[in-house]
């Protein structure tokens, strides 16, 4: 009996140490809140730690975003829409490009509304749901190569008129009863459980698939994988993006910022991912048809690497030269964006 008690006490003690260590160095308990269209949003006013790629501690604002609440005194406001590249939890808030642009443009408030996993169509929904306090003179829609894949997987449908023009987008509605949301009360309290479930999700699924396959003497995967044709054509993707830009454009002037994926090599050589070329063509066409400027951050990122020898993406605790923008990358993007936005904001009434 005493041995059982000792073992239990030891286990509890070690779990407490693990919980403390995880919250301090790896990541916070889950902040996710169910949303029927967006899939999930983030809890407001929560202190979070991200140590999985880069490292930062940040407090979400009243809308679950990685920024301060909008100031009623701001003379002008820019809202930046996008995914994890914009949310930028890998660097301190003061180092992300939205904060850096704000520092460069005096009197302008730049709001970071990025949410991981979003694509332009979801960003448009999130933008519509932002309260009036986020009203802006200018909206920057940030897109990247991952967005093409995300849009293909997202399941939304384009509604076209008889002439083929997109008149609406119908979104997939997520079921609230998924296991993830049933476990949410536990996940919000334990960083260890959040981290373990996040890491073991894919291996456990694979294990179950292989176990089932072994039990039924069937291979776990077909010997030859047949590549399914993409759900949406490039024209569909460009139409959807154009529709989104036009919708946002009814409330504010829009600038599209493209952040390509690239790898950085010896001899100051930058190699852009082929998916980026594809995404650049799709989103570039959409911006052109919507009549809004299309900024490509690729040359700026390549230049900062050539000048400093420091890759603008990647972090010490994952991989240098691959992944999200690091402080060098944010600096380069901020410089480019501020240069583009300044005259537009001046024209808009500064």
């Amino acid at each position: 009996m005493r041995a059982v008690g000792t073992c239990l006490a030891l286990t509890l003690g070690l779990l407490c140490v693990a919980e403390f260590g995880t919250r301090t160095f790896i990541g916070s308990p889950s902040n996710a809140v169910f949303h029927p269209v967006l899939g999930s949003t983030q809890l407001p006013n929560r202190m979070s730690v991200n140590g999985r790629a880069g490292f930062s501690r940040f407090m979400t604002n009243a809308h679950g975003l990685n920024d301060e609440d909008p100031s009623p005194d701001a003379a002008q406001r820019v809202v930046v829409l996008g995914d994890s590249f914009v949310r930028a939890i890998e660097v301190d808030r003061a180092q992300n490009f939205t904060s850096l642009v704000e520092q460069r443009l005096t009197g302008v408030e730049v709001m970071n509304t990025g949410v991981a996993g979003f694509n332009p169509t979801l960003s448009a929904v999130a933008f519509r749901e932002l309260p009036e306090s986020y009203a802006a003179q200018l909206v920057v829609l940030v897109v990247n190569a991952e967005d093409v894949t995300d849009m293909q997987n997202d399941g939304f449908e384009l509604v076209r008129d008889p002439l083929g023009a997109v008149v609406d987008i119908t979104y997939v509605r997520h079921p609230p009863g998924a296991l993830r949301w049933k476990l949410a009360p536990i996940l919000r309290r334990s960083a260890v459980v959040t981290d373990v479930l996040r890491r073991f999700n894919a291996p456990v699924r694979e294990f179950v698939a292989r176990f089932r396959a072994a039990a039924t003497f069937r291979p776990a995967e077909p010997p030859v994988k047949v590549e399914a044709p993409p759900r949406l054509s490039d024209a569909d993707l460009a139409d959807a993006t154009e529709f989104v830009i036009t919708g946002i454009g009814e409330r504010a002037e829009v600038v599209v910022l493209f952040v390509p994926l690239a790898t950085f090599h010896a001899g100051a050589r930058t190699v852009f991912d082929p998916r980026s070329e594809h995404a650049r063509a799709v989103f570039g066409a959409a911006a052109q048809r919507a009549g809004v400027p299309f900024l490509d951050a690729g040359p700026a990122l390549a230049q900062v690497y050539a000048d400093t020898g420091e890759p603008p993406v990647g972090f010490h605790n994952v991989t240098i030269g691959v992944g999200h923008l690091n402080a060098h990358g944010h600096e380069a993007v901020a410089k480019l964006l501020a240069h583009e936005l300044e005259p537009r904001l001046q024209r808009a009434g500064r």
Partner: protein, 469 residues
């Protein structure tokens, strides 16, 4: 099927279940033989014919050797066995390499097609060879049962990556009852867990860093390359040592004892000591069956040096058909020869006695460590050009990207602490493995390890390095 895969978990559960149901030793041996062939065939069933063929060839010639009436006949049987085993190894492992080099030398373009390297061929051919050579030398009794012999060669825990088990170590275990006990289970499970920590938590955590560094050394600063040098040192050690421990643990659960394969090689104070601690079953195999067969140290200093160099060159080549491995073997062979000359000279001098022991031992340890780490560069590099570039940039790198991954630094620190404790306070590590894992210290260690697995399991697991050999 690697030990950390879902396939192996299912496979091993079935084997354990069958072993628990069948009580007779013969029945259990039959289960293990079938399981070993399923394990090997999982990778490529066609190569079952190869392992069965080599095993049978070796056993039949062993029988012929035992029954031969003259020494000449015994010698013929032994050489036929050696030729068969080495012939298979040479064909599958070195044929393409040989043809490529002949093509380069004479400017021809002969091709024999891509020959698939059977997993573990270097290990099971060496085990078969040791049986026939030991029989010839009269050191072991012949194995009268072909089935037992097939199990000795194919025993799945050590089949594809060692430790290399000799007939004298394993066949006697097949003569006695297979003990399937709780004590063996607890001990084996803990040895497996310790191995898994080394392989999965340490080796697999540093592997992505090492892979990128060796992919493009020109990109990184000298500091990062030095970190990469240490990182690969701990990766290959923990990968191989961890996998060996997992094999030893699995065998123990099944009631078998396999020989130790690593004994903290990086604490060695000479390169000779390094080889008594690194891949012990291979280095002792090379010593007993190659170095001694070449004459060992019986023919005077120059022949001893020659034998050392030949042994290490072939030891390098054993790791793979590449000039990089030959270079690695040559470096170690050269170092062993230099160490032998040095030792002979220093023993005649009086001044070493005046140098403080800590300084003497510390210098010897640092030089040995530095050499063994530097020698891994050709071993790991994909080409000679990469080796050159890496070595150049270690010393002359100007600029480059500084990348210091904290997980690599933590793994390095953990390995250093482990070695320091093992050397200066070994009693601190002696609480595991134990037959009483619920005692506070081992229980805390096991729960702690499981938590570390839960929190730090690398997202991608690299294949076991020595599979390719």
């Amino acid at each position: 099927m690697i030990f950390t895969s879902a396939d192996f978990v299912i496979f091993f559960a079935i084997v354990l279940g069958a072993m628990a149901i069948v009580r007779s030793t013969r029945g259990r041996q039959a289960i293990l033989l079938v399981a070993s062939y399923v394990f090997y065939g999982w990778w490529n069933p066609w190569f079952l014919f190869l392992i069965a063929g080599i095993s049978t060839w070796s056993w039949v010639l062993g029988e012929a050797l035992v029954r031969a009436k003259t020494n000449a006949m015994r010698r013929v049987a032994m050489w036929l066995s050696v030729t068969g085993c080495l012939g298979a190894l040479a064909f599958f492992k070195y044929a393409n390499f040989t043809v490529e080099n002949v093509n380069l030398l004479v400017g021809s373009s002969v091709s024999i097609g891509d020959i698939l390297l059977p997993v573990g061929i270097s290990f099971f051919t060496f085990q078969s060879l040791s049986y026939n050579i030991d029989l010839y030398r009269g050191r072991i009794e012949p194995c009268r049962s072909l089935w037992r012999y097939l199990l000795f060669v194919s025993f799945f825990p050590q089949l594809v990556a060692g430790p290399i088990v000799r007939a004298s170590e394993f066949l006697p275990q097949l003569e006695r009852e297979i003990r399937f006990t709780a004590a063996n289970f607890w001990i084996g499970a803990q040895i497996f867990l310790i191995g898994a920590v080394q392989k999965v938590l340490v080796a697999d955590s540093v592997s992505p860093f090492v892979d990128r560094i060796y992919l493009e050394p020109a990109l990184y600063s000298a500091g990062t390359l030095w970190l990469g040098l240490f990182a690969y040192g701990i990766q290959i050690f923990c990968d191989f040592s961890g996998y060996s421990l997992m094999a030893i643990g699995i065998a123990r659960i099944l009631g078998f004892e396999l020989p130790e394969n690593f004994r903290l090689p990086y604490i060695s104070r000479s390169i000779a000591e390094f080889w008594r601690r690194w891949h012990i079953t291979l280095s002792f195999w090379l010593r007993d069956y190659l170095y001694i067969s070449l004459g060992g140290n019986r023919g005077g200093p120059s022949k001893t040096m020659r034998n050392l160099k030949i042994t290490m060159l072939l030891g390098g080549l054993w790791h793979g058909a590449s000039w990089n491995f030959v270079l690695w073997g040559a470096l170690h062979g050269g170092a062993l020869a230099v160490h032998r000359i040095w030792r002979g000279w220093i023993e005649k001098q009086s001044f070493p006695a005046r140098v403080p022991g800590a300084l003497r031992h510390g210098t010897a340890w640092a030089l040995t460590l530095l050499f063994s780490l530097l020698a891994w560069i050709p071993f790991r590099s994909p080409s000679w050009a990469t080796t050159q570039l890496y070595l150049e940039r270690l010393v002359f790198a100007d600029g480059g990207v500084m990348w210091v991954p904290p997980q690599v630094v933590v793994c390095l620190a953990a390995v250093i602490v482990w070695h320091v404790v093992a050397v200066f306070a070994p009693q601190g590590l002696r609480f595991m493995p134990t037959t009483r894992p619920w005692a506070p210290r081992p229980f805390a260690a096991i729960v702690g390890i499981l938590l570390l697995f839960a929190l730090f399991l690398p997202q991608s697991r690299s294949a076991f390095i020595y599979f390719q050999f």
